[in-house]
Symmetry: C2
Subunit: 195 residues, 2 copies
DNA sequence: GCTTGATCTGAACGATTGTTCATTTATCAC
DNA sequence: GTGATAAATGAACAATCGTTCAGATCAAGC
C-alpha cells in the first residue's frame, strides 16, 4: 500500500523531523521509539530509514541545525552602536529567538548526553561560540567603562542562564507579553552588569 | 552464592540509590537499565526489587528526598535581618547547596518528564514552594523599598535560573573558588534587584 | 546443629528496541 | 500501455527491557 496519493518524499522528510522534535521534546530522546515517530507521521518504522541513517542522526541533525540557525540569526541581527546597544540586542534577541522555538531549545539543552562523543563535541563547540559572542560584548563594555564586572566569563554564564530560563516558564497565553518580558529582563541584565 | 559476608540489607539499599543517582545523572533515567544499576552495585537485577518497588520509585524517591532536604536546609538557614540579608542568604545558600550535590540537582531538573503524572505533581509542588520562598523575600524587599523590581515573579524566576546555572559549568578544580563565585553572583543579584 | 528468615541468584516471561530487507505499490517519463 | 524508479510495507533479526519467582545461600537465635 505504498504511495497512496502523489509523491511523498518532499513531504515525509520534514514530517519525520517535526514528529521527532515534538516527541523528543515531550518524552526525551531515549524514551521515544522509532515506531512512535513513524506512527506520528502515519508510516511504518522501516520508512524512516529512507530519510535518516539512524536514530542518533535524527537527534544530531536537529541539534546542529538549531545551533547553526541560532548563530546565523544572531549574525544577521542589528547590534546598534557600542557594547550597551549590543547587550540589549543580545538580550532581546536571545529571549525572542528561544521563545519562538521552545522544543528545539529544550532538546538542545536536555539531550546533550544522548549524543555520541563526536557529535557532542560538534554541538558543544557551536554552543561555546554563541557564549563567546556574549562574552565579547561584556568584555568590550568592561574595557570602555560602560559595564562594571568582577568576572566577565561568570557574568556571561549568569546572563545566558537567566535568559534561557524564560523558556521553562513562558506560556503563550500567560500573564505577560513577550515584549514586556524582554523589557523587564533587559532592565535586570543592564543593572546586573552595572550599567 | 547469596550473602557472602555479613548482613547486607543496610548496605545494599544505599548503594543502589547511589548507583542509580550516578547512572541517571550521567545517562538519563530512560537510558539506564535496572541491570546496569545492579551491575554497578555488584548484584543481580532481581535483587534490586528487595529495595524498590520499581524503577519509577527509584527516581521518584530520589527526587522527593532531594527536594525535602533542600527545603529543610533552607528552613534551618540563618536568614539575618530584613530582605537584603535574606536575599544574600538565599543566594549563597542556593549556590552552596546545589554545588554540593550536582547529580541530585541535575536529575531534579532533567527527569521531571519521566515521572508519572501523580509523582510529577508532588515534585512540582515542592519546587514551587522553594520558589515562593525567594518570591516572598523579593516582595518584602520591594514593599519596604529595599529593592526596585518591575515584576516580582519574573525576578524570582530570573534569579533562580541564574543561580542554578552555576551547576552547569562549575568544576571543583576550576578557576574559581566557591566563595568567590558566591560573592560575584551575590553582587550581580544585588544589582539586578536594584539594591 | 538445627531452624528461621533475610538476602540474593539465575532463569524465565512477554514486550519492545533499532535496524534490515525482500516485496509491493504508486508515480512519472515515454 | 510499458518500464523504471522512488517510496513504503510488513515481517523478521538479535538484543535488551522491567519484572517475577522458585530455589539456593548465608547469618543469627536458640
Amino acid at each position: 500500500m505504498a504511495r497512496k496519493t502523489g509523491s511523498h518524499s518532499e513531504i515525509t522528510g520534514p514530517l519525520i523531523r517535526q514528529a521527532a522534535e515534538e516527541l523528543f521534546a515531550e518524552h526525551g530522546y531515549a524514551a521515544v521509539s522509532m515506531r512512535q515517530i513513524a506512527a506520528k507521521v502515519g508510516v511504518q518504522a522501516g520508512a524512516l530509514y529512507n530519510y535518516t541513517a539512524d536514530k542518533q542522526s535524527l537527534l544530531f541533525d536537529m541539534m546542529q541545525a538549531h545551533m547553526d540557525d541560532l548563530l546565523a540569526a544572531w549574525g544577521a541581527e542589528d547590534k546598534g552602536q557600542g557594547p550597551m546597544d549590543a547587550l540589549e540586542a543580545f538580550t532581546r534577541f536571545h529571549i525572542r529567538y528561544h521563545l519562538a522555538r521552545p522544543k528545539a531549545v529544550f532538546i538542545a539543552y536536555m539531550e546533550l548526553r544522548n549524543l555520541t562523543p563526536e557529535n557532542f563535541q560538534v554541538i558543544e563547540d557551536l554552543r561555546k561560540t554563541y557564549e563567546t559572542h556574549l562574552e565579547d560584548i561584556l568584555q568590550a563594555g568592561k574595557d570602555d567603562g560602560a559595564f562594571t564586572l568582577a568576572d566577565t566569563k561568570l557574568a556571561a554564564m549568569a546572563v545566558i542562564a537567566m535568559l534561557t530560563g524564560v523558556t521553562t516558564w513562558y506560556r503563550d497565553d500567560g500573564r505577560l507579553t513577550q515584549d514586556r518580558i524582554e523589557r523587564v529582563y533587559w532592565n535586570m541584565v543592564r543593572k546586573a552588569v552595572g550599567a
